[in-house]
């Protein structure tokens, strides 16, 4: 345990999360994956949006950026393009990522920019106290779905894959070893990676839907999760109401900041003498 504490800003603890919240488990999985890879702390930058989940970055001992609701990936895009050598990680909630931030999500995936995105999916808006999100299953209750949610929910991993993400996986706050493995692989993928971590919000989703305490909620999540390898040999009916966990997509493709770097090299070769451009700024180039 103590070796992982060094990844936290211990003076910023205790955290704000409710007892039994799953966000801490996911944050713990992230630092374990980072530790396994032995990443240089000074070259890791963690960016988040707004929500309970997004508060994770404030506790982590890296360069950290807690941004605006839904915009983490856009801020992170600026960081990655300005400093392609940094390992850029985004921590986001299901509402942050798929509602207000949905457009940035699909475009970051389309560009295949080298950002590892960890979506802490508790199927609700926790911070604003339990409204339904684009990830709330149909029929479930939320404070703005008092008669049951009539909207369909996203399959985030399918969405990421279709939009162009090159590494996609899903685990839960119950299946922690798998979660660490997936994050580790995601961090190694040179491109846009998404790991969805299904996690529990006992305070709102659990209570509103009478799913019991945190442990019961974890079991409820566990019972819906089917490993993708097991699912491959299961009859379709048995997969009704379940979701897949495991590595769901791994299809390397050229990474955006690297491709832009090549563009720069190509342009600079053909304009060896920068003079003659709009501004002859050889004197203050870096």
């Amino acid at each position: 345990m103590s070796e992982f504490l060094s990844y936290f800003r211990q003076d910023r603890l205790p955290h704000i999360w409710c007892p039994g919240c799953g966000h801490g488990t996911v944050t713990g999985a992230l630092v374990r994956a980072i530790d396994r890879l032995g990443l240089d702390k000074n070259k890791v930058c963690v960016v988040s949006g707004i929500g309970c989940s997004s508060r994770a970055v404030g506790y982590l001992d890296f360069d950290t950026l807690h941004t605006a609701h839904g915009r983490a990936l856009a801020f992170a895009t600026g960081i990655k393009m300005a400093r392609p050598d940094l390992k850029v990680i985004v921590m986001t909630g299901d509402g942050d990522c798929t509602a207000i931030g949905g457009n940035h999500f699909i475009h970051a995936a389309r560009r295949n920019i080298g950002i590892t995105t960890i979506v802490m999916n508790n199927e609700t808006y926790g911070m604003t106290s339990g409204q339904f999100s684009p990830m709330t299953p149909k029929g479930m209750l939320g404070t703005t779905a008092p008669y049951g949610n009539v909207e369909r929910s996203f399959d985030l991993c399918e969405l990421a894959k279709a939009a162009g993400a090159t590494y996609v996986g899903r685990s839960t706050s119950y299946h922690v070893p798998l979660l660490i493995d997936l994050i580790e692989k995601a961090l190694q993928n040179d491109g846009f990676s998404v790991v969805e971590a299904v996690t529990q919000c006992p305070t709102y989703l659990g209570r509103k839907n009478k799913l019991g305490d945190a442990v019961q909620l974890l079991n409820w999540i566990k019972d819906q999760a089917v490993n993708v390898k097991a699912a491959a040999v299961m009859p379709k009916e048995k997969l009704e109401g379940k979701f897949l966990i495991g590595e769901l997509h791994n299809g390397p493709a050229p990474e955006y900041s690297a491709e832009y770097g090549e563009l720069i090299a190509r342009v600079q070769r053909s304009f060896e003498n920068v003079k003659g451009g709009l501004w002859e700024c050889a004197s203050n180039s870096d």
Partner: protein, 394 residues
């Protein structure tokens, strides 16, 4: 390298000014009449190892330049009305988190999609107060193509010096007009770079003199491992809900600008020493105002032009001096009287302020401003004038 003389478009001059300041990162989304800036950045930045990203919208654009600026790069975006509206939330983020960025807003007619290819000056108040919450802001308004170069360059210097977002407010006419511009020798340009801490040991990212001090800014990726948050935060960057922390932070951010107005504010003018009727105008309206003022002078009317290059904060001290002898102040602007409100606040108790608003998508003609000046002169510059918003010479 000697000075060079070029025929340049306003948007082109803005881009050149940004590059002269050391621009290395641009993110934007296409919108008329600002698009040339994005196109030129896409072409020029790779030549100097910089980066251009076409984002999915303007919210993403401002977010990306904030991210880039945090790594130590000089970063900019450019837009117009609808895009500027979308940027407001993150503009406040940059202000609270003290991240230097430059935003060029080439104003067009609004609200909404409005008249996309017609000039306007109706974002004066949005530039000042568009984001939620109390904050001060710096807004520069070039009055010609050369100033597009100079003031965009200056916008970066101010952004870096005070760690604030700076807005360059031009309009469709200034942005698309072509003029002969004499560019300075690059060796004469000394861009301001943000003050950086010397070592990570004991680094407090938001420690500064409460009376408007600017904290030292470490780049991301350099071993400082600091935290940036849009929540109110203490000197260490840790989120805080304490009332004294909030009060101190908001007052310091305000004081950073308001205690330095003498350094920040610039204006120019003509006939200001003795004018009895002053015209306050900025941007393209000031071009028509200048020729109107000169014509009135020829007719024996003591008219003068006060042209703020910094509209927020407004050069109040200088205008107050003019108001000591100017009985009337005419404010022609392509809106229904936004800057005039500030002029009234500053000089309204000593001078009569006449709002000359125009909202049909056309520039002021010099005759319109001239007629307003002469109308006031006929009234002895004191009073019963009939010039209301929108009623210049027909």
């Amino acid at each position: 390298m000697p000075k060079t003389v070029k025929l340049m478009q306003g948007n082109e001059a803005c881009t050149a000014g940004a590059l002269a300041a050391g621009l290395r990162f641009y993110a934007g989304y296409p919108i008329t009449p600002s698009t040339e800036i994005a196109e030129l950045c896409a072409e020029e930045l790779p030549k100097m190892g910089g980066c251009f990203v076409q984002m999915e919208d303007e919210i993403g654009s401002i977010a990306a330049i904030i991210g880039a600026s945090l790594t130590g790069k000089k970063a900019m975006t450019a837009t117009s009305g609808p895009g500027f509206s979308l940027m407001q939330e993150c503009l406040g983020y940059a202000s609270l988190c003290e991240v230097p960025i430059v935003i060029v807003n080439v104003q067009r007619m609004g609200p909404s999609t409005g008249m996309p290819t017609s000039p306007a000056q109706a974002d004066v108040m949005q530039a000042r107060w568009g984001t939620h919450g109390d904050h001060s802001i710096i807004v520069l308004a070039p009055g010609n193509v050369r100033e597009c170069f100079e003031l965009t360059l200056r916008a970066f210097d101010l952004a870096e010096k005070y760690r604030v977002p700076v807005i360059v407010l031009t309009d469709e006419v200034i942005g698309h007009m072509r003029e002969k511009v004499e560019l300075p020798d690059p060796r004469d340009i000394r861009p301001f770079n943000r003050a950086a801490p010397r070592s990570p040991a004991g680094y407090k990212p938001y420690a500064a003199d409460p009376d408007g001090g600017v904290p030292l800014m470490a780049p991301f990726g350099a071993g400082y491992r600091w935290h940036v948050t849009g929540l109110f935060h203490d000197e260490t960057g840790a989120p805080s809900g304490k009332s004294d922390v909030a009060d101190k932070l908001i007052r310091r951010l305000d004081a950073k600008i308001e205690n330095n107005v003498d350094d920040i504010c610039e204006f120019s003018g003509e006939g200001l020493e003795d004018c009895e009727i002053a015209v306050v105008a900025f941007g393209s309206s000031a071009m028509s105002a200048l020729s109107a003022v000169r014509r009135a002078r020829k007719e024996g009317v003591k008219a003068g032009l006060f042209r703020p290059k910094t509209i927020w904060p407004f050069p109040a001290k200088a205008l107050r001096e003019v108001a000591l002898h100017a009985k009337t102040i005419v404010v022609p602007e392509m809106n229904l009287g936004q800057l005039a409100l500030e002029v009234e606040r500053i000089a309204g108790c000593s001078s009569k302020v006449v709002k000359l608003g125009k909202v049909n998508g056309e520039l002021f003609r010099p005759e319109e401003v001239y007629a307003a000046i002469m109308g006031e002169a006929d009234n002895g510059g004191t009073g019963q004038g009939s010039a209301k918003a929108g009623e210049g010479a027909k």
